[in-house]
């Protein structure tokens, strides 16, 4: 068997940067290694796996066992990178045929370190005892919330990040005025504070289990709320709603994160609330986040910028027409949308359509586009349907861009979607 991934590098020269990989397909094992620092792209890795397992013409699903013993999918650069960087000591890969994949096996506690359980991957006794949590298709995995900065906050505080774009749920919570007790040089004092007053059932805030009624809000995206009115705090939260980071003092202090070297080592992101709540708290390291563990909200403010949408009608200089009744201009808008652009290969229709609309998010992000990834071109029936109404486009965008635009699997980067109609 081909045991070495990188043939130019003999096995004995592998230093501490190398990660041993043990991949399993059916009953077969393969062993090789990858560079921990530069693992390469997922696509290459995928091809390599197919090659060494001699699999052809089949869609495969790649999974790995993470440090907690959970079976997690590898399907893009981000989670591949994460898998390699957290492998300890070796990266255990499980390959399944796409059509055979049982998604219920992904998630928490699906694999334990016990060898027995690893073998009984599908229906372990553990998963039978606990109700199975359906997590959805792996390519739909996106973070919805996380606890961050555990290493720098007092243990009585919790900093929760809610990703609105990861979910079509409402944020779903209310805040109120209240009084809180503070220890000051003059003793314990009553000071005004802001508290979570209500959770919307089924909302994002409730479903994460990280926020609770009567938690005191201390900070919003790094800005202290003390001295600010309820309205101000409301406005701040709404203004940050695309990437809301609230620091709370939980009313229930029993589930606090206990700091340990292991967790703080893994970039301060923790998912151990899952144990207490029964819900998975996914923390996925996105590629844009520096893997060094510098997860301040400062860089979040920059990187996780919501992107304004610009719909461009490429303007031909209109002919010098003398008639310009409203009716004629209205009929022109009807023509603005091309009759049909179904095929994704249809890139260069600029020539035969006088007015073509480009829907793209801010170009800043299109520049971030990885050169290797093909730009996505899609024709969306919903868009044509909407007759160019910005509202409808945006509505469909808001709910879930992936669904409404019928994007091919795995081909979209988080930001910088460029869609040419």
């Amino acid at each position: 068997m081909n045991r070495s991934f990188n043939k130019s590098q003999p096995l004995r020269h592998i230093d501490c940067n190398a990660v041993e990989v043990k991949s399993k397909y059916g009953a077969e094992f393969r062993r090789f290694s990858v560079d921990r620092v530069k693992p390469g792209r997922f696509e290459e890795f995928y091809k390599l796996l197919l090659h060494i397992h001699r699999i052809a013409n089949m869609e495969m699903m790649i999974g790995y066992a993470d440090v907690h013993g959970d079976l997690l999918p590898i399907n893009n650069d981000d989670n591949f990178c994460k898998a390699v960087s957290t492998a300890h000591p070796l990266l255990r890969i499980f390959i399944q045929r796409q059509e055979e994949v049982d998604y219920s096996t992904f998630g928490t506690n699906t694999i334990t370190r016990k060898k027995k359980a690893v073998v009984a991957l599908r229906n372990s006794d553990i998963s039978r005892r606990r109700p199975n949590i359906h997590i959805g298709l792996p390519h739909d995995f996106r973070p919805v919330s996380s606890i961050i900065d555990v290493d720098i906050l007092p243990e009585s505080h919790r900093r929760v990040r809610l990703y609105r774009h990861g979910s079509d749920k409402p944020l779903g919570f209310y805040i109120r005025d209240g009084t809180s007790m503070r220890v000051t040089p003059h003793g314990v004092e009553k000071v005004p504070g802001i508290f979570i007053s209500r959770m919307v059932p089924g909302g994002l805030a409730e479903s994460t289990g990280l926020l609770a009624i009567n938690d005191e809000v201390l900070e919003v995206n790094g800005i202290e709320v003390s001295g600010k009115s309820l309205d101000q705090v409301t406005d701040m939260m709404i203004a940050n709603s695309h990437n809301l980071i609230v620091t709370v003092k939980p009313v229930n202090q029993r589930n606090n994160v206990v700091r340990s070297s292991r967790i703080s080592g893994s970039s301060g992101q923790s998912s151990d609330s899952s144990g207490s709540t029964g819900y998975p708290s996914l923390s996925m390291a996105a590629a844009r986040e520096t893997p060094s563990g510098a997860h301040g909200y400062h860089d979040d403010l920059e990187s996780d910028e919501e992107t304004d949408i610009v719909i461009e009608s490429s303007l031909k200089r209109p002919s010098q027409r003398s008639s310009s009744s409203l009716a004629s201009s209205a009929s022109r808008t009807q023509q603005q949308l091309p009759p049909s652009h179904r095929s994704p290969q249809h890139h260069h229709h600029h020539h035969h359509v006088s007015l073509n609309q480009q829907l793209h998010k801010e170009p800043k992000h299109s520049q971030q586009h990885k050169p290797g990834q093909p730009q996505l071109h899609s024709s969306n029936p919903a868009l044509r349907h909407s007759n160019g109404s910005l509202h409808k486009i945006l509505n469909s965008l808001k709910t879930d861009p992936r669904h409404s635009f019928a994007l091919p699997k795995g081909g979209v980067e988080e930001d910088g979607t460029v869609i040419t109609l």
């Binding site: 919570f173 209310y174 007053s197 705090v233 406005d235 701040m236 610009v310 800043k364």
Partner: protein, 978 residues
Amino acid sequence: MMKFRFRRQSTDPQREKIKQELFAFKKTVEHGFPHQPSALAFDPKLQLMAIGTKSGAIKIYGAPGVEFTGLHKDATAVTQILFLPGRGCLLSVLDDNTIHRWELVAESTREVGGVKKEGVVSLREVDSYSLPGRPGIESSSATRATVLLLLKSCDLLCVGTEGGGVYVLELPRLSLKENQTLLQDHVTQSLPDDYRCGKSLGPVESLQEHPQQAGKILIGYSRGLVVLWDLSSRHADQLFLGKQQLESLVWERSGNLFVSSHNDGGYSVWAVTNGNIYNHQPVSSTIPYGPFPCKAITKILWRTTQLSSPVILYSGGMPRASYGDRHCLTIQQDKEHVTLDFTSRVIDFFTVHNMDNDKEFDDPSALVVLLEEELVVIDLLTPGWPSLPTPYLAPLHSSAITCSCHVTNVSTKLWERLINAGKAQQSRRHTHRKWPICGGKSLAPPPRQQELLLTGHEDGTVRFWDASGVALTPLYKLSTANVFHTDCDPIDDPHDPCDDPDMQQQEEEEEWPPFRKVGCFDPYSDDPRLGIQKISLCKYSNKLVVAGTAGQVIVLGLNDERSDHLVDVSVMDLLQDREGFTWKGHDRLEPRLKPAPFLPGFQPLVLLQCLPPASVTAVALHAEWNLVAFGTSHGFGLFDYHRRNAVLARCTLHPNDSLAMEGPLSRVKSLKKSLRQSFRRIRKSRVSGKKRAVITTTSKVQEANAALAEQEEVAPVQRRIEPRSADDSLSGVVRCFCFADTFLRDGTHHGPTLWAGTNSGSVYAYALEVPGVDSGRTCERGGASESSMCVEAVLGKEIQLMHRAPVVSICVLDGRGKPLPDPYEASQDLSIAPDMTNAHSVLIASEEQLKVFSLPKVSAKTKFKLTAHEGCRVRKVALVLFSSAVQEDYSEHTLVCLTNMGDMHLFNMPGLRPQVRFDCIRKEDISGIASCVFTKNGQGFYLISPSEYERFSLSAKVLIKPQCSVQLLRHLGHMFTW
């Protein structure tokens, strides 16, 4: 990120210095009429008038431009003001039974640049005293001051009380002279038994010093008794046994007569003849508006004249049944009799007359009447007693202010035309005699430029004010009501009825009482739909756009001649065939079908009617391209008023938005609110109508209840945290427009563009094809072919801000990052030409963020997330040119941003780096924040009450504030003669 920017900014000492030279915040002057005035006084020697208000403010006015303002520490009503004539000193009595001493303090003369400058005088509170007997305690109301009298000698202050006692205080210490106190028992003893009849004399209603004999005062008791009291001998000279409840007293100049006014609407003249102590009957007694029961004459003045019989002036006395609700003041002299009919309550009045002791007659020259809502001055020297236009204290709120607009640097030509148009409007009965209150001297430099403030009102008028200096003076009034056919429309009469009250007066000549409507405060709007919502004026082409509550947009042009013409009407459907919407609001206003006569001034050219007729929310005018853009809660339109052609209509309505179709009048919430407000108004007016309302326990309970009710009104203490969504209500409201000659298509061709921003964070950018406009320059409109061509608009870009906050302002910046010049400024070389070689950018300010995007490709360059950082929301935004106060030619374009917290944030352009922050308006003052307008040079105005604009300056250089001197009769500066 921002923290770093702040830090970097503040550590640069050079930058700090420049900032200090550019920015400085100061509230400079209050324009308009003081809200809820409660006291009036006049210093005949210094020719200064003082007005006290219910909120505890004292304002002193002299010659136009001479103004002083003082504010008591407690916001308690000023009940009385007394000048110490000639000394630049005054006493104010507050409702809480305290007396405060104010002085006009002059700064020492200083030399500035080799020129000796006269000392600027300011008003300061020097001292305060508490009179015995606090309000609110029932038992001590006996010592509550009702009237005060300052003796001419200025050394004694007599205080009349509720309990009927008269106390004498010594100035300046205001120490009580115990042995001088005159209690009621003392007087009662000397009364004949049949008059005494065991009843109290009641509170002291009036104290008047004998005009000739110092030390003798006339004391009038509520029950009707009047006593001539000698202060030195502590002895009643004479007793006048009046039987009618007393309201006020006044001496005749000689001291041989005095006049008393009474509760039954009558007045009596009493002769003061030496001899008998008791006077049982007055010389004469008259009830002028009898014989039916009349209301009280609250105050009466008796002024002698050399050439004719005395002038009698009195307020009230109206026949109770028929005219009991009128606010009237009567002037009578011989046969001449005028009943001035005001629209608001008479607070107080005085005459300007001869005060010299050696003169034999009063010879009054003017009557000054302080009303609840305005100041009216009547010229008593001109026959017919016409009213005098007031140079200050203009009632801004004569009809409620609905919007305002400021125009900087108005050309002399336009200025003169406006003044002439204004003069043509003034009624015949206005006199042009000199303003009678002429004390002090304004030291403020003459205004550098003419500035216009335009206010839109609920009654459909637009008023033009001279805002160049300290005194805000009316120039011209434009009424838009005559474009429409309204219920109360006198078809044949071009005048607004309130425009010319004298016309009515002629018709009512035979009526008794001989009413004459005076003043311009008119709180009753004929039709709320006439209300003005948006104003835009092009000062170069003299085109004006005025838009109102019922979706009307009127384009007007300036014409010096009267004109009778029919106004073109164009209807714009902004729903654009959207289905499923039915407008539930008010109807549109019916345009007048017959040609209407229009007076010199701004005359309507075109009326655009938006459908549905919702209130216009945004308007923009580009006179060079003859285009007007307008928006409502449903969409926006573009109209070419030169060719009378609708260019564009666009619906912005969100399919789920139901509220937008409700219309303002049918909204349940607002109806409830207005009901509540009207009840409150009734309650308030009842309280204020009562004379000297003693705060009793019951009223305290009421107050507490009211406070509780107010608290209940405060919105629930819970706030939902949810990102804004597209289907929030009223998301389609068009908030702002921007016309710009810039690069929308590509980086090489620029051309006219129109930008529109909505409540839901959408921005629409249209490329315009304006015939004759190429590459930003207007060519001569010569060819006939060109004139037949039409303006075209093509949607170039739609931008959706992802945070969806309402777009407050859009502005295009040139290649140097400076705002593009106004229409005509570039083509007529009135400003530095914009940089068209480097890439342009567009500033889009939403309620949450300020963002600069590059053009033509709309990509974010810089941004500042104000709400995310500060928790405040942007309410008003303006690009202002700040000039350095030190360096002659240095100036910076700065973005000024007023937030819902009432503070001003200043950002540099186009970097959007925060410069300074000033607290400006209380955050509770929502109407103040909503009414704020900025000038282009760093000043601004906002309403501090329905009738007053506060003027403020953010610029270290441009500062319009009162600077006045007063020639005081006391010796130099602070030395006091007493």
